[in-house]
Structures are given as structure tokens and as C-alpha cells.
């Protein structure tokens, strides 16, 4: 499914490439341009990438437990933590293989179809993007493994992790907007004038709780060198500003909190599942 959407988004990007005004970093546009009614590859991955992680991890532990294989596994002369670490690392390896293959393959097809060559910096940006995507999907893998450790039934853990994914991907922005509007109403003109800055900042801050938003913000900055700020920009900050491109280092520094935050979330999720698994009593039913 992911591969299919990837190809579809590439088709959309190539058809929409003619409308790209900026001829610099054209190769990156292959990943970020959306065609008619087809979202870009980047937003596809942000939305559907978690599916890979969830599919790989939602029944990692509880299906073994239900099938009775976990007892036998633990009976083997291996350390108990090797089981949970192995499950996570195996899943991550599969994810990395899928993501890199798809991302690089997409670029190769793009070169073939358009004749646009990537520059050195573009290659680095794409590699950073793919690596970060692996971390993002691995976070969802860790979350689903955690659920599979906690929940007895595979169906429960699957539903729980999918519910979390849907919440962050779709409802978090609604919730953030509702909370921000409640705290800083901007209903009429007067309030809008007073509160809009705070409203927007709170909205942004709440959205950033969502790993989906963190990831989207980070990769869109990395894949678009013209993005200069991820925060609210006031007019006085723009006085005297001239448009230009940021170097990869500067782009990375801009979204460094997002990158480290997401990596930290992944580690925390895995740590949670690890502790949960290690403290569980495993006995044959």
C-alpha cells in the first residue's frame, strides 16, 4: 500500500513539477510537490508511515503469549531482554529497509522521468529526511510494542495504537485549536488584535505534542531550504530580511529540537515497553 501511494505521489509530483517556480533545489521538489488531488510523498509518509510501524509491532508480544510460544521462548537459554530488544531491532531494521528502498527508489525513478540531477546538498537533505523518517516510524513501532506488552489481546492493542495514531494525525490539531481559542479568544476584531499572537503560539505548542506534527514540521524544513523559521514570525523580524537559502546545517539547527524530541520520544516509548516486558510475569496458562 505504501509503495503504491509512493508511486502515485511521484506521479503527482512529476505532473506538478512544471508549476514549481523556484528552479533551485528542484530535485527536492520531487518529494515535496503535490499533484492534482494527490498529496506529496512527504505528507503520505507522515500520514501512512506509522501504519508500517503499527503493523509490525501491534501483536509482537501478546500474540506469542496467546499462542503459548512465549513460554517456550523464555525457556530457551537466552536472556529475557534479548527477546524485547530483538523484536524492536528487527522491526526497525525492516522499517529502515522499506523506507530507504522506497525513498531512494523514488529518487531514481524521478531522475529517470525528469532528468533532474540532485546536487550534493540535496542528497544529504534526502538522506537526513529518510533517516528521520525511520526514527519516526520506529517510534510508532515502539508504541505498538508497548501496547502489545500491556494488552492481553492483539485486537485491543491494535485498536489502541490505531486510535492513538488517528488522534495525533487528525484530531490533535482540532483539539489544539479548540483549547487555544478557549484560552485566547479571537472571535471578534478586538480580541483578534490582542490575542492572535498568543493564540497562535499556544496552538503551535499544543500541536507539537503530536509526533505527527513534530515530524511534519521537521521534514518540511529540511526538504525546503527557504523555510527560515518554524515559529511565529512577527513583522519586525522581517524588516530588512532578504530571501535566500539556508545551508543544511542551519536547517538542521532550526528543527534540532524536533529531531531530538522525536528521537527522545522513540527511546522513551521503547524504554516503556522494555520495562513493561521485563516486569511482566510470564507463565503458562
Amino acid at each position: 500500500m505504501i509503495g503504491g501511494t509512493g508511486i502515485a505521489s511521484l506521479y503527482g509530483a512529476i505532473s506538478g513539477l512544471g508549476d514549481v517556480e523556484d528552479s533551485n533545489y528542484l530535485f527536492l521538489s520531487l518529494y515535496t510537490t503535490s499533484g492534482n488531488s494527490i498529496p506529496s510523498f512527504m505528507s503520505f509518509i507522515a500520514l501512512l508511515g506509522p501504519i508500517i510501524g503499527l503493523a509490525l509491532g501491534f501483536d509482537a508480544v501478546n500474540s506469542e503469549r496467546a499462542g503459548g510460544t512465549l513460554n517456550r521462548l523464555v525457556a530457551q537459554p537466552i536472556y529475557r531482554d534479548s527477546i524485547i530488544i530483538g523484536k524492536f531491532l528487527a522491526g526497525t531494521a525492516v522499517i529502515a529497509t522499506i523506507i530507504y528502498t522506497m525513498g531512494i527508489g523514488l529518487g531514481a525513478v524521478g531522475i529517470l522521468c525528469t532528468g533532474v540531477k540532485p546536487s550534493g546538498e540535496e542528497v544529504w537533505r534526502i538522506l537526513v529526511f529518510l533517516t528521520f523518517t525511520v526514527v519516526y516510524v520506529a517510534f510508532w513501532l515502539a508504541i505498538s510494542i508497548w501496547f502489545s506488552v500491556v494488552c492481553r489481546h492483539a485486537a485491543t492493542s491494535a485498536l489502541a495504537s490505531i486510535a492513538l495514531w488517528v488522534f495525533f494525525a487528525i484530531f490533535m490539531s482540532l483539539v489544539a485549536r479548540i483549547v487555544a481559542n478557549a484560552a485566547y479568544p479571537i472571535g471578534d476584531e478586538y480580541h483578534a488584535m490582542i490575542n492572535s499572537y498568543n493564540n497562535y503560539t499556544l496552538n503551535l505548542g499544543l500541536n507539537r505534542i503530536s509526533p505527527y506534527y513534530l515530524y511534519s514540521e521537521a521534514v518540511s524544513t529540511i526538504m525546503n531550504p527557504t523555510v527560515r523559521s518554524v515559529n511565529v514570525v512577527t513583522m519586525d523580524q522581517l524588516v530588512g530580511a532578504v530571501s535566500g537559502y539556508l545551508s543544511l546545517g542551519q536547517s538542521l539547527l532550526l528543527v534540532w529540537p524536533n529531531l531530538t524530541g522525536l528521537a527522545a520520544l522513540m527511546l522513551i516509548a521503547f524504554g516503556g515497553s522494555y520495562i513493561g516486558f521485563m516486569r511482566q510475569e510470564i507463565r503458562s496458562n
Binding site: Y79, D81, S229, Q237, G240, A241, L253, T260, R279
Partner: protein, 431 residues
């Protein structure tokens, strides 16, 4: 007198025909003068010169010789020397040794006879021919050189010359000299606009004319006396080549363009270029004046010409400015100002330059501090140096960079997390 002259001319024609090959300019001139009478005298020319002339001899009294000059009346300036080429003619076909003398000269005037570049008192007139001396102008065998003294009144003066061949055969020649104060025959070197003004770096071009009022062609060699570093060229009108000398026909004129290029770093002021055209007879001079006006110009850049630099939020970045006075006037009270984004601070090591001499360069350091919430990326900051007369500005591209401090802090967070994970592994694992 008139009769004698007439005769001399007529015989001149006859002599010229008889002498055939050795025809000279003087004879031709004489012949031309007598052309009007040529029709009447066709027959006598063919006859023996001596017989025809001897028949008329009685008319000229007892003269056996004739002395004449082509232009017995001339106009001169006081103080000048004029010379008369003399023609001698034997009227009866005999040869004579003729003694020459100036019978009457006005007071203070002096004159002498000259032949072969020395003073002479006698001349030999060959039989049957003329002692024709008008054949080569200045090189004539006999000339009467007359010096007109300075400071005499205008008017007409008479000089009488006598040729005495002995045996009572004499001839007199009256010369009429009109002394005039007015210059005639003086050549001229003029310019319509001898004074021009312009800024430094301008090329000036003067249209001048050389007029040759002399009776002969003149070759003028051209020279100019200009201040050091100035270039002066002479170009004839309608030509493109620069010349060092040029020839002007008698009575003609020649347009001449004098091109003057001041040195690049010329100072304000008035400069005189003395141009001279010197020929064998004339020394013509013309002073051309160029006034260089003051120009105010300033450039602002950096020593290496790089107009961009990096800066970090809320941190001072310094950039060295080089301010150059490219005009030719000293500039005073130059102020350095800046136009920077909101809340940015720009200070200078020296915000006012008291005096910047013409051509001098001054280096000033500017300290730029971006505001705390500057967005990563490029900003424009304009720095201007100027006073009431001129100003120069430079746009600097300031690349604001994110400080890596927080990036390192974030890595620290990851490290702490990994350590915690390791502790968890230790606590719960391997049991």
C-alpha cells in the same frame, strides 16, 4: 620711369624666348607681367633685341643700362627690413661694370646692396642679356636691402637708387616705401574658446586655427607646455592622427584640434597650457586655460570587497569598512550611519571622520548586533558614509545563524536518555 619699366618687361619676354632652356621663375614672372603687351609686340620679339632696343635708346636719354625691380612700391612695418630684388639690363648690347649707390635715403634709414650673401658695390651686366637677379627670390645675385628704423611716423617714403655704368650712362630707380603700423603678413594662431572648465576625468578639446598670412608655405612644428602628467595632442581638423607638425599654404588656414587630457587625480584649480607653433618665419603662441572644478565622490566598501558576513543572534559581529575619497577635494565631517532591521544595533569604531583627503582611504570597523529574535537567514543592513556634499553606501548581507548552543543541549538530552535506558537495562535485564 614708367617707360623704362615697360621696356624692361618687353625685353624680358624677348630674352626669355631667346634664352630657351635656362628658363627661370623670375623670367616667367616677368613674362606674365608683360602678357598684356604680348599681342602688340609679337613682331619685335622675333627681331634682334639690340637693334630694336637701340632704336628706343634715345627715349631713355643717355642710358646704356636699365635697373629695375618687380615691385618698386612696398608696404612695411616700422622696424622691419625689406629687400628688393634688382634686375639689370644692357640696353645697347654692351657689357658694363655698374657701380651701385643709394642716392637718397630718408633720415635714419639704412640700405645696402647685397649679392651672393655679401655686400656689393658693383655689378657686371653682361652684353645683350640682363643680369637677371629676380630668378631666385632671396638668392638673387643683387638685392637692395633696406632697414626701416623703429618708431618713425606712418607715411610714404621715397628711396632713390642709382646705377652708374660710367661714360655718363646711368639709371635711377625710385622705390616707394609705405610705412604702416598695421600688421599685415603676420600669421595667426587662435582659439575660439581658449578657456574651458570641467571636472576631473574630463577630456578637453580646443578648436584652434592657424592662419598663414605669409607669402610662402610654412611648416609649423607644434609643441605644448603643460603641467606634469597632462597629455596634449594636436590633431588637424578632419583627421584622426595626432601630428607634431603641419604645413599651411601661403595665405591659407588650417583648423587644429588641441586635445587636453588632465591626469586622473588632478586637483581643483586653473591650469594653463601654452601651445606654440613655430615655423622658420613665425613663432605663434596660444595659451589655453583649463579650469578643473571640484568633484565630490566617495566609495564605501570593505578591504576585500566582500559585502556579506555572518552574525549570531544577540552577538556582536564586526566588519571592516574602507571609505575612499575618490573626488579631488578634501571631505570633512563624514558621518557614518546605518539602516538596519528593527532592534539591531550598529555602532562604529569612529562614527565621524573629521577630514578625508582627496584620494585617501580610511578604515573603520562597524559592529553589528542582530536582535535577539532575529530569524535565521539573510538580512540587509545598509551602511552609509557621507556629509552635506556627497555620500556613499553599501548594502551588507548579514547571514544570521542559529547558535549551536541549544543544539548541543538537545544532544545532551538524548545522551541522558540513552544513559537512563542503559540504567534500566542494567536494573531489569539479565536476570
Amino acid at each position: 620711369m614708367r617707360r623704362k619699366k615697360l621696356w624692361s618687361k618687353r625685353t624680358g619676354v624677348a630674352a626669355a624666348v631667346l634664352m630657351t632652356a635656362a628658363m627661370t621663375l623670375g623670367s616667367v614672372t616677368a613674362g606674365a607681367a608683360g602678357t598684356s603687351e604680348a599681342g602688340k609686340n609679337t613682331e619685335p620679339v622675333k627681331e634682334e633685341v639690340g637693334t630694336e632696343l637701340s632704336g628706343n635708346d634715345t627715349d631713355s636719354g643717355d642710358s646704356g643700362i636699365d635697373m629695375s625691380t618687380a615691385y618698386p612700391g612696398v608696404t612695411v612695418k616700422a622696424g622691419e627690413t625689406v629687400s628688393f630684388p634688382l634686375d639689370f639690363l644692357s640696353l645697347d648690347g654692351k657689357g658694363y661694370d655698374v657701380a651701385l649707390s643709394a642716392v637718397s635715403l630718408p633720415e635714419n634709414w639704412s640700405g645696402y646692396f647685397r649679392g651672393d650673401n655679401q655686400e656689393i658695390t658693383k655689378i657686371h651686366v653682361k652684353p645683350g642679356t640682363t643680369a637677371d637677379t629676380a630668378d631666385a627670390g632671396d638668392d638673387s645675385d643683387a638685392q637692395f636691402s633696406l632697414s626701416v628704423p623703429e618708431g618713425i611716423e606712418e607715411g610714404t617714403y621715397e628711396v632713390e637708387l642709382e646705377a652708374d655704368a660710367g661714360e655718363g650712362k646711368t639709371d635711377t630707380l625710385e622705390l616707394e616705401v609705405t610705412v604702416s603700423q598695421e600688421e599685415s603678413g603676420q600669421s595667426d594662431f587662435t582659439s575660439e574658446y581658449p578657456q574651458q572648465q570641467g571636472m576631473a576625468g574630463t577630456s578637453f578639446s580646443f578648436e584652434t586655427t592657424i592662419v598663414n598670412n605669409r607669402s610662402t608655405n610654412q611648416t609649423y612644428s607644434l609643441s605644448a607646455d603643460a603641467p606634469a602628467g597632462w597629455q596634449v595632442t594636436f590633431t588637424p581638423s578632419g583627421e584622426s592622427a595626432n601630428v607634431a607638425s603641419l604645413s599651411v599654404d601661403a595665405g591659407g588656414s588650417q583648423g587644429l584640434t588641441v586635445g587636453v587630457v588632465p591626469p586622473e587625480k588632478v586637483e581643483k584649480g586653473e591650469y594653463t597650457i601654452s601651445c606654440a607653433a613655430v615655423s622658420a618665419n613665425d613663432t605663434l603662441a596660444q595659451d589655453l586655460t583649463v579650469e578643473i572644478t571640484g568633484s565630490y565622490a566617495l566609495t564605501l566598501s570593505t578591504p576585500d570587497g566582500c559585502l556579506s558576513f555572518d552574525a549570531y543572534e544577540n552577538k556582536e559581529a564586526s566588519v571592516t569598512l574602507s571609505i575612499t575619497n575618490t573626488g579631488n577635494v578634501d571631505l570633512t565631517n563624514l558621518n557614518l550611519t546605518s539602516s538596519a532591521p528593527t532592534d539591531w544595533e550598529v555602532t562604529f569604531s569612529e562614527s565621524t571622520i573629521d577630514t578625508l583627503e582627496a584620494g585617501a582611504t580610511k578604515e573603520v570597523t562597524a559592529y553589528v548586533t542582530p536582535c535577539e529574535n532575529a530569524v535565521t537567514g539573510d538580512y540587509v543592513t545598509t551602511i552609509t558614509a557621507g556629509n552635506s556634499e556627497t555620500s556613499a553606501s553599501a548594502d551588507f548581507r548579514v547571514s544570521v545563524k542559529t547558535s549551536t548552543t541549544w543544539g548541543i543541549a538537545a544532544i545532551g538530552v538524548i545522551v541522558v536518555l540513552v544513559v537512563i535506558l542503559g540504567v534500566i537495562f542494567k536494573k531489569y535485564g539479565r536476570r
